[in-house]
């Protein structure tokens, strides 16, 4: 181990930042996913800092998701996060656009009454019949998420006649209900025991849940719940400037005189 030369801390920076910068550079330039980073002892000697300082640097990189600790084994370069954009696309499309091969394992499919939650999301009766599909989604062979989807039977009675279609959106489109917009509600959560096992997560339990209402021009056509693994998945949200706020031109009770319309 070539730990003889002492690295210098950047001017004005904390000592741990030098260790952190060194490791970040090492990860990008020399190490591959799954490689171990130098041990705490080696780093302590190389930088002439305390073990606590080294741990602080490692902790920061673990918190960033760049490194992952494995109990009793050491600290390793974590697999990259896959940044999906929340768009009205299917999992398969998003994976393909990132140069990954999507895969699917159908866990369950059938017909079920909507129930309260789904009925509320789709604005229908609780007894309305739904196609229900539960799938494990893969990217390049790695399980990335568990998807559950509900589609009103009356919109597409034959939806599941030939098995679960690869793309529910395409299947809806073919039947005249092309998805045109939707809303995702995103929640941080912990995986259930079942999800943990399905997603083969062996580090943390953090997952990202995305609950989606999908609409076609004639109304709500699908409700779905995706559970993405937190250690491999990140979300990109495109932002744009907010539209101007609309304020009534004449404030009937004009007690604050001038600044009614600042938009």
């Amino acid at each position: 181990m070539a730990a003889t030369t002492q690295a210098k801390a950047p001017k004005g920076g904390h000592k741990y930042q030098a260790v952190r910068a060194y490791l970040a550079d090492l990860i990008v330039s020399e190490l591959a996913v799954g490689d171990a980073v130098p041990s705490e002892r080696v780093l302590t000697e190389k930088f002439g800092v305390s073990r606590m300082t080294v741990r602080q640097a490692l902790d920061a990189l673990v918190a960033d998701g760049v490194l992952q600790r494995e109990q009793g084994r050491g600290t390793f370069v974590a697999p990259q996060h896959t940044d999906f954009e929340m768009r009205l696309t299917t999992f398969g499309e998003e994976a393909r656009r990132r140069g990954m091969v999507p895969g699917t394992q159908v866990l369950e499919s059938g017909t079920t009454p909507a129930g309260r939650l789904v009925a509320e999301a789709l604005g229908c009766g609780e007894d309305e019949l739904m196609h229900y599909v539960e799938r494990l989604r893969f990217a390049d062979g790695t399980p990335m998420g568990v998807e559950r989807a509900w589609v009103p039977v009356h919109l597409a009675p034959d939806l599941l006649d030939d098995g679960v279609p690869d793309s529910l959106y395409d299947a809806l489109k073919v039947r005249g209900h092309a998805p045109t917009w939707g809303e995702d509600t995103i929640l941080a959560a912990e995986a259930t025991a079942k999800e943990l096992a399905l997603l083969a997560m062996n580090g943390g339990r953090a997952v990202l849940r995305a609950h989606r209402r999908t609409f076609s021009d004639d109304g709500a056509c699908m409700y779905s719940q995706m559970c993405y693994r937190g250690d491999r998945y990140s979300v990109v949200v495109p932002l744009r400037e907010a539209r101007p706020t609309i304020v009534p031109r004449v404030q009937p009770d004009a007690d604050d005189t001038a600044d009614g319309a600042d938009g």
Partner: protein, 81 residues
């Protein structure tokens, strides 16, 4: 704006309790986030009938889910207010 668009905007405004009840309306990507003076004057059924896909009320903030037509509706609302 078409007559149908204007009628829809007028129905939404009425559902929110009329222009007198509006403090401001903030158009988002799929929703109109409205700050109203008196939330009891908001008529959810009327908003639904006007084409809203959902109405969420928190205190004086009423979110009306209208979908991507939000741009058209917002400019029609601005004309009516």
């Amino acid at each position: 704006m078409t007559a149908a668009d204007a009628a829809r905007a007028a129905a939404i405004l009425a559902g929110l309790g009329g222009v007198e009840n509006i403090e401001e309306i903030d158009p988002c990507t799929t929703r109109l986030r409205s700050l109203v003076k008196d939330p009891t004057l908001v008529d959810v059924a009327a908003l639904r009938a006007a084409g809203a896909y959902g109405v969420m009320t928190t205190g004086r903030v009423v979110q009306v889910v209208v979908g991507p037509q939000v741009d058209t509706i917002a400019s029609d609302l601005a004309d009516l207010m």
